[in-house]
Amino acid sequence: APKAEEPETAPPAVEEPVVEEPVVEEKKLLVCQITDTGGIDDKSFNQTAWKGIEDAIKGLGIEGKYLESQEVADYEKNLNAFIEEDCDLIITVGFLIADATAAAAGDYPDNKFSIVDFAYDPAINNVVGQLFQTDEAGFLAGYAAAAVTKTGKVGTFGGLPIPTVTIFMKGFVEGVDYYNSVKGTDVVVLGYDLEDETKGLFSMDFDDQQKGRELAISLMDEGADVIMPVAGPVGLGAAAAIQERGNAYLIGVDSDWYLTAPEYAAITLTSVMKMMDATTYQVIESVIDGSFAGGNVIGTLENGGVKIAPFHDLDNLVPADIKAELEQIQADIISGKIKLK
């Protein structure tokens, strides 16, 4: 848990590139991450991908660095900086950095890249695209939420109406709908419209946590008692509101919030996990063992690239039969028996 981490472990102190030193140490593998403009602490993909690198630092003995992009024009510049730094693998994060990554990959065919949250079509042979079928996990969370709600209403809101956000919400709604169709209930989802993905509740911002708080309150006022905020740190504002009111539950996103936001452990029902840390770790491993090949990795329930977190402290809240059903649904999604839109 981050709480236990030491402040200095994040970016490992890096010495001046060893030029004069005659003793040639065994060079560690250098993995470099370029964030998008959200920054390394976005409680979302930048942070989760970096966690993959941190895990690899501990587990695989590599070296890791990151550069924050402050604007779009920095992507290319930062890529150049890391290429010059002789990084063995450059991880870029987000859809917006895809153009620059592809260009760099073209210019430097010998370098290895991986991009989080994007897949090239056609695939590029020195870039691993990591894409996540988050709606599959969202589906499970929606089903669980529908099973847990007492008011018959659950809610969600997003940061911006963009695909990587709305895919969570979409899966969530589909899961609730599935529950309704199976159980004949009438659980309502507030905050997202399956018909029109731009309609719905959005904070329009990944910074304004107070807004997240007010959105959660608004959802609770309308009766929602399970809420899934898909808005990076803004979601923590929602968590604070839920915690304060005490009669609703939170569904985390990206990582297992029970672990990453332990102060809200008591209200965290589950989390829709997008295992960017795991996939990033795998890509690093593939570089080490030489099996690195370009192409795309799609994270699904099947390969464990997405999943829902355990219920942890709230385990008693979810009846055993629901847990069993969730297992079954997971299998059905993997087998293709349940098809998502």
């Binding site: 402040p7 102190a13 290319e76 510049k77 859809f95 153009d99 963009i162």
Partner: protein
């Protein structure tokens, strides 16, 4: 040696005379080279020193070293600052050893990589120049344009739209058209607060800030709706602009220096000419310095505010437009790292004069470019540059502090620049 120094000083004097006393409004007092340069130079120095203090104070290795022994601590301080600032300088200007090695190796790619830091600083300076000119012109016209950021976004959106939506035009028409679209978009966004100031006296500081937020939301909507890239599924990113609309870069990767930088220099000259050589410029400056006298002299204060804000907005729009056309080639969220706000500091340090803006922009571009390298080498957050900029601005705005710090004598004549104050706006 001494002679040469003297010569250098003379050259500097001419330059600075230009900055401080454009031919249009000489003050009649000649100020010495040192007099003019001392405040900004010492302000920058002080900014660097305070930056170093911040670096040291937040460095864990320094504390660790001190826990071993005092001497080791001092050494750690030295090492920390040296490493950081060496990275800052080699990352922004270049490493001479490396350049020589590269040239002697004759490897094309190595040479490009070695000379890139300096050229990259110019690339970074380009949006600063436009944005800085926008703020400077605003100040000269008595307007505090905090809305550069929003104008930049709208300008970028317009340039992008013209860049990708119109197809089949030759470069010679398409690129200038997209460029002008950027100016026009920014001009419109600047014009609105100008109009409000002229009509209702609403202070442009508040209105431009509000227009910033509106611009952000509007571009978010445009990019994820009407202007979204087909196949992106509503991701807030625009299609890539046509080749014919792109401002050319001169060299191959990684060098990004582009024609836009030289256009910026040209525009700066144009603004200088407009402000100090034409009756329109005098008109703007009179209104800026004393709106009541302007009214008395038969000038339309309101029109001047509208025009001033529109031109200022157009320059801001160009900052965004050029960035799109020359560097980004498509528009996405996260277009700007805050050029609109940094440019306020920049314009003031540059004494609201186009030449000063150019010099300060290059300084800021250099700082930012170097900061990337500093982050790679020392893991110092890039935001330290913001802190340094604020400190430099503070000292430039309050020269008395610098004088006290460095025990300088007060020059006989304080320069006066008319600025906006209070909320009264242009009425009364």
């Amino acid at each position: 040696m001494k002679r040469e120094l003297k010569k250098l000083e003379e050259a500097g004097q001419v330059l600075l005379q230009e900055i401080n006393e454009p031919e249009g409004e000489p003050t009649g007092h000649k100020r010495s080279f040192w007099n003019v340069i001392s405040i900004p130079a010492l302000a920058i120095l002080t900014g660097l020193i305070i930056g170093a203090i911040l670096i040291v104070a937040t460095s864990s290795s320094v504390y660790e070293a001190f826990s071993h022994s005092f001497g080791e601590g001092l050494a750690a301080i030295g090492k920390e600052v040296f490493t950081a600032y060496k990275a800052l300088f080699t990352g922004s200007i270049g490493d001479p050893v490396r350049i020589i090695n590269a040239i002697s190796s004759g490897d094309d790619r190595l040479i490009r990589a070695a000379v890139n830091p300096f050229l990259e600083s110019l690339v970074q300076a380009t949006p600063y120049i436009f944005a800085g000119l926008a703020v400077a012109l605003g100040f000269r016209a008595g307007l505090f344009n905090i809305g550069v950021e929003g104008q930049l976004f709208i300008g970028a959106a317009c340039a992008t739209f013209v860049g990708y939506a119109i197809k089949g035009l030759p470069f010679i028409i398409h690129m200038p058209l997209a460029f002008l679209a950027g100016a026009l978009g920014g001009a419109l966004w600047g014009f609105i607060p100008g109009l409000l100031k002229a009509l209702t006296g609403g202070h442009e500081v508040i209105n431009t800030i509000m227009m910033n937020y509106i611009a952000f939301r509007l571009t978010e909507w445009l990019l994820s709706g009407p202007m979204t890239r087909p196949g992106s599924g509503g991701m807030p990113i625009s299609p890539i602009i046509e080749e014919s609309a792109q401002i050319p870069q001169f060299f191959k990767n990684p060098i990004r220096i582009h024609l836009g930088f030289f256009i910026a220099l040209g525009v700066a000259w144009l603004i200088w000419w407009l402000l100090f050589k034409t009756k329109w410029g005098l008109n703007l400056r009179i209104v800026g310095a004393n709106p009541r006298a302007a009214k008395y002299a038969g000038l339309s204060v309101g029109k001047s505010y509208m025009l001033g804000m529109a031109i200022s907005g157009a320059l801001a729009g160009l900052a965004g437009g050029v960035q799109i056309l020359a560097v980004n080639r498509s528009m996405a969220l996260g277009l700007s790292s805050g050029y609109g706000f940094d440019s306020i500091a920049l314009a003031l340090i540059g004494n609201n004069h186009p030449l000063g803006v150019i010099l300060t922009s290059i300084l800021f571009g250099t700082l930012r470019n170097g900061a990337t390298r500093m982050m790679v080498v020392s893991s110092i957050p890039i935001d330290i540059v913001d802190v340094m900029q604020a400190i430099i601005l503070m000292f430039v705005a309050a020269p008395a502090i610098i004088r006290t710090l460095y025990r300088l004598r007060k020059p006989k004549q304080e320069e006066e620049t008319a600025f906006v104050s209070g909320w009264g706006g242009g009425q009364s």
